[in-house]
Amino acid sequence: MKRIIPMWIAIIGGFAMMLSSFIPLAESWGEVFANVFNVVAAIAFVLGAGSLAKQHLEKLSRRDAGWGYSIITLGSFIVTLLIGMFKIGIHPNPNFPQAAYSGSNNTEGSAWSWIYEYMITPLTSTMFALLAFFVASAAFRAFRAKNTEAILLLVTAFIVLLGRTFAGVVLTGWFPEWASGLRLENLSIYVMQVFNTAGNRAIMIGIALGVAATGLRILFGIDRSWLGGGDA
């Protein structure tokens, strides 16, 4: 029963979403299921917060490696939650001046907004900035000319890299008009528009068919591995 009910919910929901795309009269079915999903996700969020608190409290009680970070995580979680719930530093909405909590958390100058702007955004940017170093190390490894394929990749990558910078124009800008197709900036465009697009479209067609087949497998109840597999 624990598998049959979720499977039928998935089947009915999936078909309702599919039909809502083709039959205008059934458009509302898709909205209904989307709303149900949002409600379930909101309930699951409470479970998620519980899981977060539990794992860090256990880490603290066991004094595991890095337990100090758990204090920071829990502290930040509780402070942000309280600031958001009690709308600290937020003025009431001008339309409802009598209601103390009628203002929005996104109001400029509010404590919640301050946390977002001066704590979350810089931290996020810091993590994102790490990507540049990872790209360099991955490129160094990928572009080692070990065999013919790797050499082709290396040459293509250099054409695209140089063609998209001023270096490409400086190096090959002097080519005469009749050989303008060999200029790095034009070669780069050619590689991206022809080879890259062709390969990308082949992958996209495969993905689209894969999505359709996976959807049908789940809708027909053939694939139940997301329920742990086995018979219903």
């Binding site: 039959i23 205008p24 996700a41 917060a49 931290l123 495969g206 068919l209 359709a212 329920l227 597999g229």
Partner: protein, 380 residues
């Protein structure tokens, strides 16, 4: 004398009937809607709304203009692609009173079409692929052998889990950063079910940090059921499947930090990934983990290919669960998928040929019509 009873092989199993019945229901629903739509279109062409309104109010010339505008608005509201909340196509004359309007249009209730004609090509494609999958499943069930090409990344799953067991380290499974309404997350969880079952059989530890609380709940159910089916229900621990945060880089910071501290022997990245794909895979590379990735985000595939040991590219990712199960019904869906791919290939080839011929001989009406039809079928 030894008597043997030959048990007749069932061609139509319960699963086959279920597939066929579901598919037929879907096809019937949509065919009925399609038929209604066609009949609606015929009746519309016989008696256009504007003519009815004009005929009814021929004696009131000042009303006719208003009625025509209102009739146009009714038609515009009935158009399939038009938003029902969209503004009227022409403003109604301010002189027209509500009483005059209600008198002018006796039946102004908007009628919504029963089938969205703009999506006919997509609908036909779904029916075609659905039919191909259903027939392939039926053939597979009837015992027809199915040849599936070897996928190295999936062959490596058992070895990767075994490696973690031998090294006494954990397995990290990252199911992407999107919620359960993303098909890649669902495909990632189906893969998680297989990996968790193998991990349970090998007595390896599997860690699943999630970016969405709903994914955490679904992953817990999936892993629990896998441990149960492997006969190791006691080995399941819900605490190993944790929710981190919805924030993309907050999640990345936690996962990467735990990777560096705990050094898992095997890392799986299966789901929807964006900029964090390279951060995960490069960190995994730095700690010496064997890495298997799978995503349908084509922009992230090069990063996984560069940094991971094995990568499931696009459709391979969606085929993984069926491939690992080895069940005829699931493998049949892969054949259906391949039939669809073959059909797309044929149509694209025809389109390329038609476009080439049209470039050489632009006056060919037949080729122009063929190209137009192909563009419509392929959604161009």
């Amino acid at each position: 004398m030894r008597i043997t009873h030959k048990v007749p092989r069932r061609i139509f199993t319960n699963q086959s009937w279920k597939c066929i019945a579901t598919f037929l229901c879907m096809a019937m629903c949509c065919t009925r809607a399609f038929a209604f739509e066609i009949s609606g279109a015929i009746s519309e062409s016989v008696a256009p709304v504007t003519q009815i309104v004009t005929a009814q109010n021929a004696s009131a010339p000042e009303h006719v203009a208003t009625q025509n505008i209102l009739a146009k608005n009714v038609l515009a509201r009935n158009a399939p692609a038009q938003d029902t909340n969209a503004p009227l196509v022409e403003p109604v004359n301010a002189a027209a009173t509500p009483a005059a309007i209600s008198a002018a249009i006796p039946d102004a209730t908007p009628v919504r079409p029963l089938f969205n004609r703009e999506k006919t090509a997509l609908f036909l494609w779904i029916v075609f692929i659905g039919a191909a999958v259903t027939v392939s499943v039926w053939l597979a069930k009837s015992g027809r052998p199915i040849k599936i090409r070897r996928i190295a990344a999936l062959e490596a799953v058992d070895n990767a889990v075994g490696r973690a067991t031998e090294m006494g380290r954990s397995i990290l499974f990252v199911p992407g950063i999107q919620d359960m309404d993303n098909i890649q997350t669902v495909a990632g969880l189906t893969m998680l079910g297989r990996v968790a079952k193998t991990a349970a059989e090998y007595d390896a530890t599997i860690q699943v940090p999630t970016c969405r609380s709903l994914v955490m709940e679904a992953a817990r159910d999936t892993v629990r059921a896998s441990y149960l089916s492997a006969g190791r229900a006691d080995g399941f621990s819900a605490d190993r499947i944790t929710y981190i945060t919805d924030d993309q880089f907050g999640y990345v910071a936690n996962v990467v930090g735990s990777m560096v501290r705990e050094k898992p022997a095997t890392c799986f990245y299966m789901g929807c990934f964006y900029a964090e794909s390279l951060i995960f895979s490069e960190t995994g590379n730095a700690i010496g983990a064997i890495q298997i990735a799978g995503t349908a985000e084509s922009s992230q595939l090069p990063f996984f290919v560069a940094a991971c040991d094995y990568t499931l590219i696009g459709e391979e990712f969606f085929a993984a669960s069926a491939y690992l199960s080895g069940e005829p019904a699931q493998l049949g869906t892969l054949r259906g998928q391949d039939i669809g791919k073959f059909a797309v290939g044929v149509l694209i080839t025809l389109g390329v040929l038609a476009a080439t011929i049209l470039a050489v001989a632009p006056s060919s009406a037949v080729i122009s019509a063929l190209l137009y039809g192909l563009q419509k079928v392929l959604g161009g």
